[in-house]
Amino acid sequence: MRVLLIDPDPARAALVAEGLEGIRPLEVRQTAVLEETEIAAFAPDVVVIACDSPDRDTLESLREATAANPRPVVMFTDRSAPGLAEAAVQAGVAAYVVDGLAAGRVRPVLEVAMSRFELMQGLRADLAKAKADLASRKVIDRAKGLLMKERGLDEEAAYRVLRKLAMDAGRPIGAVAADLVAFANVLKGKDE
């Protein structure tokens, strides 16, 4: 079974391709952009496409057999597994199959793709959170520094002041620290 993977995100595509190695016999090819000549040359049985690829509409138009595309392609909706196609769209991926291919052979491919897409989304979310945490820690350090300098506090006392402000306001300590730094800049005339 030949699988063509269309994904503008190369890191995610690599993750999916690696996951598909567990399913044999399988030949996988990756591309960032759909090329009709490539479809004709590779003749995939299954096309897995990221929902953020703009090529889905072009792919859907290949549903009629033509000279350039002798094997019609249809969106994979498995009646024996209701909700699968919906779950795939939620995971950000869609599968198209050559008309008539047995659902049982396609399902594992789609399931691997879905789980890898979800994994990638989780990794990206973790990374974004880590970056936000780091930025928050930096701003807390700056706010502590201001309090230490302006009020002659030691580091621990400066942190306690910030924590109390945060608890009183019911807001995250990073947000309170950011406000304090911003106000200090205004008072120092650094806003222009």
Binding site: C51, D57, A94
Partner: protein, 430 residues
């Protein structure tokens, strides 16, 4: 009239759009506070394809979306994705698209038929001359792109080609390309021409790779292009939210159509979160009309983009019937489809009217109108207040009466439909 948020079934909504000038009512409703004024907190999601829009609306990841006007019909009939009843209670715009060809093809058309290229509206006769010459020389067919099989653009391009005796399935290769990629494909020579909504025609002209042959409004003076699409199930479960949404969109459409707001609208649409396109290019299709080419300025009197005037927001059932006649004509549906019933189920003027009434906006009291009967401006008296209407001619002089869809579909020389044919032999690729 404002409704307190407590009567709304939902206040947080997620609506999808494709980067095009006719997503304007959605984008303006968010940016200018018309959604907020109705108690709605709307997130707009830029989507990469019409297939995504369709699937996400069907599975509920989006509450509704900017849709190609024939798409809710195609979804309801199961022509595109699994059959899901969908509705179109609001028309987002009339016109807005154009047919663009590469500068090389435009030159070939001028060489082959200078008189034909000099006349307006331009027919496809100069293109036919080029196609015949290429055939005689044994060259491969030209490639034209549209955005989706179930789109005004597909039917509009086919209508224009076939009028000149070009069979779009036999004399050309038609392909599907996402709107933001059209200009790039034209520049690389992958396609020789395309039909798409603004601003992508003006971009090809600005980049010097294409020339606009004709605006949509020169083919059919007031043709529907995009609608708000939702599932029928969502509309049933959220009737008050839907009314709030329609009121907000109607206010936004009024705002978008005010000439003094068009420059601000262009700047808004051009932003990175929306079209992410050069503001000068976006603006050309909003303030006046885009130039046909570097040497030929645009024709501002042709209503390049209409958001609200001429009852543009009203979801005419006759528009749905017209789309169904074109589906029949090109073999996308067979004779078994109950055209009036499908039009009535999908296009929902009954849902539009209460929103217009709440705003005191004149709304038609009839669901259908004859197209192609008015050469000049006219007044629609069958409305809550009389509505000023635009000329509505087709460039071939044809008349469309929604009461006779099959006769109309069968009346074209080039087409796949002959009455009493149960199913077309082979559906075209697009």
């Amino acid at each position: 009239m404002t409704v307190s948020p407590t009567t709304l079934e939902r206040t947080d909504l997620r609506l999808g759009f494709i980067p095009l000038n006719d997503a304007a009512p959605l984008i303006a409703a968010k940016a200018k506070g018309f959604f907020a004024g109705e108690g709605l907190d709307v997130a707009l999601a830029r989507e990469a394809s019409w297939a995504n829009i369709r699937d996400k609306v069907q599975v509920g990841l989006l509450d509704g979306a900017h849709m190609l006007a024939p798409l809710p019909i195609a979804c309801t009939l199961g022509l595109s994705g699994p059959a899901t009843p969908m509705i179109a209670p609001f028309c987002l715009n009339l016109n807005g698209s154009a047919i663009t060809v590469s500068t090389a093809l435009a030159q070939a058309m001028r060489d082959a038929d200078p008189a034909g290229m000099a006349q307006r509206p331009r027919t496809a006769r100069p293109l036919r001359a080029v196609i015949e010459a290429r055939k005689a020389a044994g060259l491969p067919p030209l490639t034209f792109a549209v955005v989706f099989p179930y789109s005004m653009h597909n039917y509009e391009l086919r209508y224009w080609l076939a009028e000149a005796g070009i069979d779009p399935d036999r004399d050309l290769r038609l392909v599907i390309t996402p709107p933001p990629r059209m200009a790039q494909r034209l520049a690389s020579g992958e396609v020789d021409g395309f039909c798409v909504t603004a601003p992508w025609n003006a971009l090809a002209v600005a980049e010097g790779t294409g020339e606009i042959v004709t605006y949509a409004s020169e083919i059919w003076r007031v043709g529907p292009d995009k609608v708000l699409g939702l599932t029928a199930d969502w509309a049933r479960r959220n009737p008050n939210t839907l009314q709030a949404l329609l009121r907000a969109l109607l206010r936004a459409a009024v705002w978008c159509d005010e000439p003094q707001n068009r420059a601000e609208l262009a700047a808004l649409l051009a932003g990175q979160a929306y079209l992410n396109a050069p503001v000068e290019v976006v603006s050309q299709s909003l303030v006046g009309s885009p130039p046909y080419s570097a040497d030929e300025p645009g024709e501002a009197s042709l209503d390049y983009m209409i958001y609200h005037r001429y009852a543009a927001s009203f979801p005419w059932r006759s528009h749905a019937v017209w789309f169904l006649t074109q589906m029949l004509r090109w073999g996308q549906i067979g004779d078994d489809v109950d055209i009036p019933a499908v039009a009535e189920a999908v296009y929902r003027p009954d849902l539009f009217r209460p929103a217009a009434a709440a705003l005191g906006d004149g709304a038609p009291l009839v669901d259908e109108k004859v197209e192609g009967a008015h050469a000049g401006p006219w007044q629609l008296d069958e409305a809550t207040h009389p509505v000023r209407m635009a000329p509505d001619l087709f460039f071939d002089g044809r008349l469309f009466d929604a009461a006779q869809p099959r006769r109309y579909a069968a009346g074209f020389e080039i087409g796949r439909y002959a009455p009493d044919t149960p199913r077309p032999g082979s559906a075209p690729k697009i």
